[in-house]
């Protein structure tokens, strides 16, 4: 796909150069070198070289804050995604965080030969070999060791997700050799590997005979719902666990009192961070809130910017995790603190990772007080149920 095609596909040609995108962009507010509008100007003045070799190309969070307001409905995140694929064709990958470890892991799972051992954490979960419902675990087993030192346990999210499904009488099946969904590769321009992964996953799911795939990760969800269909045929319906829970709230044995994961039993006030993928990408704002409100004794307080206006956790797809990214996270956490909430609840493991990271960061002490609990909604729910026994 060349630049002209990208301009057409994303309706970039409609750009009125009004600057609304840049004025709303969380990155531009901190990083004056980055401006969505100027990226588009370059495309329209077809200076492709400048575009693909600009390191800021990888600064975009693809959070959709801009396109949500764009009077010309230019799809800037997709523009970014496509231009990055041009860039990666020319050896540009942005500055990869965590020394690219995560990316090499993702690519490795694309090997058809590999036999993963990724399900050694299932204790207490009821799963089956054959079921209508498949739970897509995602990167959790790989993230677990990488992020345990900042007290984030993606595996725990997976475990709790399954327990909650069990509570609803669902015994999901899992793919023992599930591959990376490819989200991060797609959004950093490695379309080729992404396609490989998509095909392998689609094939396995087909064999599994699943009708419904449940995700606790919004990125996997978005990828299956929006991106896969462009490359592979999926004859089953992806759903996010929050949608599923919201529909079955009455059947959830929720108890007042919450503990564990840095959450004292007295916790009353929580605030909610809309992950970009779940919120602006897929328009899922209410289900998570309905669930939180359903937990007895928990009060939900909104941040200054919430729902469609909420601000991204500051990094996406492990690239350009810069001081600006840090500033965004601190700003967002300050907003969360300002609500008086003790815990920030999210529905995306990465939000959790990035916020926790900002807190443990050296020098964080010097900045504003941003220390607070951060956890995933499924953990919150699971805890509210566990206290039953």
């Amino acid at each position: 796909m060349n630049l002209e095609d990208i301009i057409k596909q994303t309706k970039t040609y409609y750009c009125l150069e009004c600057g609304k995108c840049t004025s709303i962009c969380p990155v531009s507010r901190h990083n004056s070198n980055f401006s969505p509008r100027l990226m588009l100007e370059r495309a329209l003045m077809d200076s492709e070289g400048e575009l693909v070799h600009d390191r800021e190309l990888f600064s975009c969070l693809t959070c959709y804050a801009c396109s949500d307001l764009c009077p010309s409905e230019v799809d800037y995140p997709v523009f970014t995604q496509k231009v990055r694929s041009l860039a990666s064709g020319q050896g540009e990958h942005g500055d990869c965080a965590h020394s690219g470890v995560l990316f090499s892991l993702m690519r490795l799972t694309a090997h058809s030969g590999i036999k993963q051992k990724r399900l050694d954490w299932l204790d207490g979960c009821r799963t089956t070999q054959r079921s209508e419902v498949l739970y897509f675990v995602g990167c959790a087993p790989y993230f677990e060791p990488v992020f345990e030192d900042i007290e984030v346990s993606p595996v725990n999210i997976a475990r709790n997700s399954i327990k909650i499904l069990n509570a609803l009488g669902i015994e999901p099946m899992l793919l023992p050799n599930e591959r990376c969904c490819g989200h991060d590769l797609l959004w950093t321009g490695d379309v080729e590997t992404f396609k490989k992964l998509a095909h392998i996953n689609a094939e396995m799911i087909k064999e599994s005979g699943a009708r419904k795939i449940v995700f606790s990760c919004p990125e996997g969800y978005r990828t299956f719902k929006i991106d896969y269909p462009q490359y592979v045929k999926l004859d089953c319906e992806p759903v996010h666990i929050t949608e599923l829970l919201a529909q079955n709230l009455s059947r959830l044995p929720l108890q007042p009192r919450v503990k564990q994961e840095g959450i004292s039993p007295e916790v009353r006030k929580v605030t909610y961070q809309d992950p970009c993928r779940l919120g602006r990408h897929l328009g899922i704002y209410e289900p998570p809130r309905e669930i939180i409100k359903a937990i007895p004794g928990i009060e939900l307080v909104e941040m200054e910017h919430s729902g469609g206006e909420s601000i991204c956790c500051g990094t996406s797809v492990w690239t350009n995790c810069s001081s600006y990214s840090k500033e965004i996270r601190i700003e967002r956490l300050s907003e969360a603190k300002a609500t008086g909430a003790e815990v920030l609840v999210t529905t995306c493991p990465k939000c959790q990772i990035h916020f926790k990271c900002a807190m443990v960061d050296k020098g964080a002490e010097k900045g504003p007080d941003i220390k607070m609990g951060v956890t995933d909604l499924v953990n919150l729910v699971a805890n509210a149920m566990e206290t039953r026994e």
């Binding site: 002209e4 040609y13 409609y14 150069e17 509008r37 100027l38 100007e41 370059r42 329209l44 003045m45």
Partner: protein, 564 residues
């Protein structure tokens, strides 16, 4: 109706209580008694609502029973109720100008509620003043003047043609005067028309034929208007040109002489360099199907929105966008850039057209007056250098055809029109309408109307709407067959008049002109044209000119009465 004897005033006073609106704050019975004592008052009464059926019949009764020859109503405001009471007088056989009105509600009871005595005293003053004026009132007639059932349309472009057809289809003889040897005006050199991209020829050719074959339209080609005398209803027009009958009399005139695109001599190498052309020249190339190049750069606002010509000519952005659209459409491989300073694609269709043009791949670059584009090339057109204002950098664009978008400028003819019809030009040389906001197709001078780009640059759609507008204004007097002159207008005492001509100069409506009266120069008021503002009277050094119904005597009588 038999003429009333006015020699000695017999005045009737009708005072309205307006329910309690006047009655509660002004002592109305007291007013009645007071009025009765005043000179020449033969009858006074009060009514619950003088404007009600009862009130109106009370006035009529009063006029008959007491043979009144002046009537005064003291109630609300003449601005809304005068027509009603005047009609009542007329129905009772009293000339309606023998009626006087004083406002004791809006000026007394409602604004002095807390001071009833003062309100009553004031009401007495006002009634006394009103009667003082009423005593001097004279009957007036609204003279009607016949209107010649024909119209003159100057200008044979689409706008002029549409105006002519509209009038002719309403059954009036129309003289259409066009200086060129064929109809169509500027459209003859246009390729296609936005927003529908319809070929211009498909619009003006059929129109031209319709005009030529219309039994009611006499077309005078290669002709010009030489002289116009007279006024609304009766303009005598002299034409010079090939047509045999060069003397016509018309009731109304529509001006549609259009405008012409500026030729940007010397700008961006225009006139010196090959392939530096105007939008109009581009259209001619397209019409002939000539190649228009692979890399087109268009520069907007050439000679417009600049210190020496500050205005925006409204239609040029769309002209450029249209030609860019058509270029891309016929040759998708071609590259087209439009350099602009604000895109004026107002409304629904233009904005939509602009978006479609973007979709086709035409690129828009905003430049600033401070850093205008430059032509780059050794004696020939190679590239255009421009500062991309929103990208904040200088760029160079390959260019084999440079198209300059220039504004419409007033036609030379305007000067002549202005002199001949005694209508003014604005600071740019466009014709000046009577009121920019609410009288856009009229001139201050009655019976003459304006449409199309002679007044201000307009596209075809707007021009045609204006043509209908001007036509409907022009049709009014023709359909009625007469024009009613203001009865309240200026009149001259020719013995007093010194013929100084101050009034003639002063009058904004060309209603006054000096005429010879057996050797003596006196000013003469054209009742058909006079609007009755009375400013002439205020300025007349010899007090020779004054205005009916507001004469010096009448007003001074009011002043005097206040203090008597």
């Amino acid at each position: 109706m038999e003429e009333k004897d006015l020699s000695n005033p017999r005045m009737g006073v009708f005072i309205c209580r307006c329910g309690i609106n006047i009655g509660a704050y002004v002592n109305v019975p007291d007013l009645v008694e007071y009025a009765k004592q005043l000179a020449n008052v033969v009858h006074a009464e009060h009514n619950l609502f003088t404007c009600s059926e009862e009130g109106i019949s009370a006035i009529k009764r009063g006029i008959k029973e007491h043979n009144l020859n002046r009537v005064l109503v003291a109630s609300c405001t003449p601005r809304t109720h005068e027509p009603l009471f005047r009609a009542a007088c007329e129905e009772a056989g009293l000339n309606k100008y023998l009626f006087e009105f004083v406002n004791i509600r809006d000026q007394c009871s409602w604004v002095h509620m807390h001071e009833p005595e003062k309100a009553t005293a004031k009401a007495k003053d006002l009634i006394r003043m009103g009667l003082a004026k009423a005593r001097l009132l004279q009957p007036l007639a609204e003279i009607e003047m016949k209107v010649a059932p024909a119209a003159l349309v100057i200008g044979g472009g689409v706008v002029g043609m549409e105006a002519a057809l509209n009038l002719a289809n309403q059954g009036f003889d129309v003289h259409l005067v066009e200086k060129e040897s064929e109809l169509g005006g500027l459209l003859r050199s246009i390729n296609k028309l936005f927003p529908a991209n319809k070929e211009a020829v498909k619009l003006f050719k059929p129109l031209g034929e319709e005009v030529m074959n219309h039994p009611k339209i006499k077309t005078h080609l290669s002709s010009e208007v030489k002289q116009v005398t007279g006024f609304i209803g009766n303009f005598n027009v002299t034409l010079d040109g090939k047509s045999e009958d060069n003397q016509v009399t018309v009731g109304t005139i529509v001006v549609a002489v259009g405008a012409e695109p500026l030729k940007p001599i010397g700008q961006y190498g225009y006139g010196k360099m090959a392939n530096v052309i105007t939008q109009l020249e581009l259209e001619e190339r397209m019409k002939k199907g000539e190649p228009v190049g692979q890399n087109l750069v268009m520069i907007n606002c050439v000679g417009a929105r600049v210190p020496e010509r500050t205005y925006c000519s409204r239609i040029c952005c769309m002209t450029a966008i249209k030609n860019a659209f058509l270029t891309k459409e016929s040759n998708p491989k071609a590259k087209v850039w439009i350099l602009h300073r604000d895109l004026m694609t107002y409304g629904v269709d233009f904005e939509d057209y602009y978006r479609k043009t973007m979709e086709l791949g035409v690129r828009f670059i905003r430049y600033s007056l401070e850093r205008p584009p430059e032509v780059v090339g050794e004696g020939k057109l190679e590239r255009i250098k421009v500062y991309h204002e929103l990208w904040r950098r200088e760029i160079e664009l390959p260019c084999d055809t440079l198209v300059l978008t220039t504004p419409l400028v007033p036609a030379e003819g305007n000067q002549n029109i202005s002199r001949m019809l005694k209508v003014s030009l604005d600071e740019f040389g466009f014709l000046l309408e009577a009121h920019l906001k609410l009288r856009p197709v009229e001139f201050a001078m009655d019976g003459i109307y304006i449409c199309g780009s002679a007044r201000w640059p307009t596209d075809v759609t707007e021009g045609i709407s204006q043509a209908y507008a001007a036509a409907s204004k022009a049709a009014g007097p023709l359909r009625m067959g007469f024009v009613k002159a203001e009865a309240i207008n200026a009149f001259v005492d020719e013995d007093e008049c010194s013929g100084c001509g101050i009034c003639e100069v002063l009058c904004s409506f060309q209603a006054i002109e000096l005429q010879d009266r057996d050797g003596k120069r006196v000013s003469h008021v054209n009742e058909a044209v006079c609007k009755g503002c009375g400013t002439c009277g205020a300025a007349c050094p010899s007090g020779a000119i004054s205005m009916h119904h507001f004469t010096d005597e009448q007003i001074l009588a009011q002043v005097q009465a206040l203090f008597s």
